[in-house]
Symmetry: C2
DNA sequence: GTCCTGCTTTTTATCGATATATTGAGCGCG
DNA sequence: CGCGCTCAATATATCGATAAAAAGCAGGAC
C-alpha cells in the first residue's frame, strides 16, 4: 500500500506538503505542487480514508438504514442518493431486516460514528426504544410511526391518503370497501393511520366502517395480500371495493380477484398505497396514493443537511403531502 | 466521546486490559474483567470502529456495489445480506448509477480499502476498464458481461434461459416471437446473450430468427418496454409471442398489449427474465426465467469468503444455472 | 533464600493521515 | 545593513485503537 509518506519521499518534500497539495488547504508553490502531483500519479497514490476519518473526524458518507433493500425502500433510496451526492457526499444503504435489535445496533454509537449523518427508516422500534437514542450525530427518521420530539422526522400523510383513495372509490360507486392489511399492528403504526383514513371516508359518505371489513394480512407481501383476499372472498361477505394498505399487498389482492373471476374495476374497484413504478403498468393500472418519494427524500435530506452544517435548533416533524393517482383499477380512471 | 482510555481509568487498569476484555484476545482474570465490564456499562463505552480499522486493518464490512438500488438488485441484495451476516460481517450497498466513472470510483483503492471485500455488479465497465482494476482486496464481479480472467465472476446462463423461454412458447404454439429489448447494446452484454438464446430456439424449431423481430428499447424500464411494444404493434408486423429481456420490460409489454386489446396468452404469449416477486402475482402471472438469486448470491459469497480467508488460487468464473417458471402468460401454464 | 515457570498486566511502537505551531527564505524599506 | 513582514515548507503532536514485547507477580523446586 502506497502511503502519503512514500509520495513525500518521491517528491522530496514533507508529508504535510503532500497533504496540503491534495486537500488544497495551505498554499503550495506551483513547481512543488507539480512535483507532488507527478509523484502521486507515478505511484498511484490514493488517500487512506480511514486514517483521514480518524484524524479529521469526517467521512463524507451518509447512511440510509432501511428494513429491507427492496420495493419501497429501494425506490426511495434512488431518490435520496442524488441529493446526498449533490453535496459531495456518498450514500450507503444498510439493512436491519425490520428487526428491533438490528435497528438499535444500527443506531449504536459504534456504527453511527462511521457516518457524517444517518437517515433511518424505522420499522421495528417503538417510542421507548427510540427515546433511548441519544446521539450528537445528525439523524433523521423516516417512517410511519410516532417518534420522540427531539428527533427529526419525516412521514407521509397516511390518513389523508387512505381517505382520498377510499372516497374516490365511494364516489365511483363502491359501497362496501375492504381495508386490506389495515388492522392494528404494533410494529406498523401506518396500518392504523391508513385504517383511520378509510374509516373517515366511509363515515363521511354515510357508510358503515364495519370492523369485519378490516382484514389482517399475515405479512405485508403480495402473497400475504393474496391469501387474505382469497380467504375473505371465501367467507362470502359481499364487497365491491378494496383499499390495500400498500401496492405490494394490492398486487396480491389483484391476483386473488383475477383467480376468483372477479373483474377489476367492473365488479370490484381496487386502490393501493405507495404508487410503485409497477403500479402504473400492471393492467388495468393500479390506482394508488403516491408516496411522494421526491418530497420525502427532499425533506429528509434538507433536515439532514441542516444538522450536518451545524444547525442545532429544535427538531422538526414533517408530514409530506400525498396525492391520489387514478388508474384503471378504479372506475373513470385513465 | 468516551474513549477506551476513559474506561481504563475508571476501572483502574491499562488500556490494553480493556482491549483484551472486549476482544477476548489475551486472558484476563475474572475480577479484573468484571471491573472493566462495569466501567464499560457505566460510561456507555463503544469501540471506535475507525480507530480499530486503522490499526487492525479489518472492518468486518462487505460492500455490494450496484448500478441502482431497486428491482433486481434490491432483491439480490436481500439474498446476499444474510449470507454475509452469517459470518459475522456487515453488508452495505453502494450505488453507481450504471455510470462507468462512478463504477471506477467505487473500485478505486480509496473506497475499496474501507471494506474487507467487495461484490460488484458491473453494468457500465468494459473489459479494458476492468482490466485496469488491480487490487489485493477480495472482490467478486456479478453481472452479464465478459470480465478479465483474473477476476472472480458469477453470471447467469443467459443464453440457455432465453432459449428455454422461447422454446417453451414455440412448443405452445407461437410461430413469430419478438425479442423485446434484446438488440445489441454495448453496455449490456446480457442482451446479446439472450438474443442468441432466442435465435437458437427459433432455429432449432425450424423458424426464422428475423432481425426485424429483435426490437430495441430506449431504456430497460417498463416504460421503455411499453413504448417499444406499442411501436411494434403499430408497425403491423404479425406476431404471436414476446420474449422480453427482463421482467421489468415484460411488464411494459404486458401493459401495451392490454391497451391494444391483445389477449395474453390467447393472442400473444409473453415471457420475461428475472422472475421478480411481482411476476408471480401480476395477472395472468408472467412466465419468466428465474434468475436464481439464491444460487448467484451463494456462489458470489462463497467466492468472496474464500478470498477473505486468504485463498489465493486462480479466479473462478461461475455460470449459475437458470430454470423456467411457467405461469399464465404462456399457454398450458398454471 | 534464590531462581525458574507460568500467568496476568503494562509498556512501547504503530496504523496513516491532519491541525497547529514553528522555522526558514525572500524582499521592501528606512 | 538590519529589521520586520509575508509566504512556503517542515516539525511535532494527535486521533483511538491493537500487536508484540516487556514487566510483575504468584507459587514451587532445590
Amino acid at each position: 500500500m502506497v502511503r502519503m509518506a512514500d509520495v513525500a519521499r518521491a517528491a522530496g518534500v514533507s508529508v504535510m506538503t503532500v497533504s496540503n497539495v491534495l486537500n488544497e488547504r495551505l498554499p503550495v508553490n506551483e513547481p512543488t505542487r507539480a512535483r507532488v502531483m507527478a509523484a502521486v500519479e507515478a505511484l498511484g497514490y490514493e488517500v487512506n480514508l480511514t486514517a483521514r476519518h480518524l484524524r479529521a473526524g469526517r467521512t463524507d458518507t451518509v447512511a440510509f438504514v432501511v428494513p429491507s433493500f427492496h420495493d419501497y425502500f429501494g425506490e426511495l433510496a434512488d431518490q435520496v442518493a442524488p441529493l446526498i451526492e449533490a453535496e459531495g457526499r456518498h450514500l450507503v444503504l444498510e439493512r436491519t431486516s425490520a428487526n428491533a435489535e438490528q435497528e438499535m445496533e444500527a443506531l449504536s454509537v459504534a456504527r453511527l460514528q462511521i457516518y457524517d449523518g444517518v437517515l433511518l427508516s424505522i420499522a421495528g422500534l417503538d417510542l421507548e426504544q427510540l427515546g433511548r437514542v441519544r446521539t450528537s450525530k445528525p439523524i433523521v427518521l423516516l417512517g410511519e410511526r410516532d417518534v420522540p420530539d427531539h428527533l427529526n422526522h419525516v412521514r407521509l400523510a397516511n390518513e389523508s391518503g387512505a381517505r382520498l383513495a377510499t372516497a374516490h372509490m365511494i364516489e365511483r360507486g363502491s359501497r362496501r370497501i375492504l381495508a386490506l392489511g389495515c388492522s392494528f399492528d404494533g410494529a406498523h403504526m401506518m396500518t392504523t393511520d391508513r385504517r383511520v383514513g378509510w374509516e373517515n371516508a366511509c363515515r363521511e359518505a354515510g357508510l358503515a366502517a364495519d370492523p369485519a371489513y378490516v382484514v389482517p394480512v399475515s405479512d405485508y407481501t403480495s402473497l400475504g395480500g393474496r391469501d387474505a383476499m382469497l380467504e375473505f372472498i371465501a367467507s362470502g361477505l359481499p364487497f365491491d371495493g378494496v383499499f390495500a394498505v400498500t401496492d405490494i399487498v394490492a398486487l396480491g389482492a389483484l391476483s386473488a380477484l383475477a383467480d376468483s373471476g372477479l373483474r377489476v374495476p367492473v365488479d370490484v374497484q381496487l386502490a393501493g398505497f405507495d404508487n410503485l413504478d409497477m403500479s402504473r403498468f400492471i393492467p388495468p393500472g393500479i390506482t394508488s396514493v403516491d408516496a411522494n418519494h421526491e418530497g420525502v427524500a427532499e425533506a429528509a435530506v434538507t433536515l439532514l443537511h441542516r444538522q450536518m452544517s451545524g444547525w442545532t435548533g429544535p427538531a422538526e416533524h414533517v408530514v409530506a403531502p400525498v396525492r391520489l393517482v387514478v388508474r384503471g383499477s378504479t372506475r373513470g380512471g385513465a
